[in-house]
Amino acid sequence: MRPLRSDRGRTRPATAPVALKLLVAGGFGAGKTTLVGAVSEIRPLRTEELLTEAGRPVDDTSGVEGKRTTTVAMDFGRITLREDLVLYLFGTPGQDRFWFLWDELARGALGAVVLADTRRLQDCFAAVDYFERRGIPFTLAVNCFDGAERYPEEDVRDALDLDPGVPVILCDAREKESVKGVLVSVVEQRFAELAQQAG
């Protein structure tokens, strides 16, 4: 068991903080956990969800003797913005067959980051599609890997056929400042959405 930080001696908080979440999606190896780790105040933690046959829409295993459980891991980090305001960042499970878990993650999310690797841009098609269909604001962040060819923002936008309103940001998922900019752009979209509704 991993040790938990114990905060004995702290005064007991009267109220629980407001908790918000952002999702970080992208293909396997795009740098999701690195991005979470760059801004999280805790080392990214891992939660696991056990899936049994009933919860698995794709893999058909015939015969009860072959019954298995599958574990899906989700890495997440935490940013305490104020004593009473906490933002969680969840890396979504990479494999396509766990899409149904995304619905739970996406419920109530402020928005999402879709992290793209220009060497494997097709890996993020599914995530872009998912957030577009559900009207969840997202920012396309191109993780600029060392040695990967740089493409102009417009080329990435065209290749993914993104809406003009979707911000495309070149970032370095290892750099806190860079990641902050990406996260701010996600929340700003939600903010603009609200302002529009109000006006």
Binding site: M1, V18, A19, K21, L50, G108, K180
Partner: protein, 142 residues
């Protein structure tokens, strides 16, 4: 996870699993006495925040503690959330339990009046402008 794999006569008979590689000794849902959902815990979001109730103010809670129907994992959760509020995701990661198991256990604790849960803002009513402004400022100031 490898725990559910059967290693019988499938050609890899030489493979031995030790310690962590062998998977958990106790199957996770044994801690919930086989229940995969509970009335109160089923819909708990990953970021629902769990806070321990003060047993002094909740006589029912003291009773639940006394009758010893709670598992060590229940008590772990009660203890951790007494120190500070923690999200369902943090409890699962910290106790190394699947999220589904933590939901059931938190549901039991809710039933017993040992904890309360602050549910996140419902999706239909996203946080208001002032909260979003705080989030943007807070992120910039990191």
């Amino acid at each position: 996870m490898t725990a559910g794999l059967t290693g019988d006569g499938s050609g890899d008979g030489d493979v031995r699993w030790y310690d962590d590689a062998a998977g958990p000794v106790v199957r996770p849902y044994a801690m919930t006495r086989g229940r995969t959902r509970s009335a109160d815990g089923a819909g708990l979001d990953l970021i629902a925040v769990v806070v321990a109730e003060d047993p002094a103010e909740h006589p029912g809670a003291a009773h639940a503690l006394a009758d010893q129907t709670l598992s060590p994992e229940h008590l772990d959760i009660a203890e951790l959330t007494r120190d500070m509020p923690r999200s369902v995701a943090e409890l699962a990661a910290g106790l190394d339990l699947p999220v589904g198991v933590v939901r059931v256990l938190v549901g039991d604790l809710l039933d017993a009046g040992l904890v309360r849960v602050t549910r996140p803002v419902p999706p239909a009513e996203l946080p208001d402008e002032s909260i979003l402004r705080e989030v943007i400022h807070g992120l910039r100031a990191l």
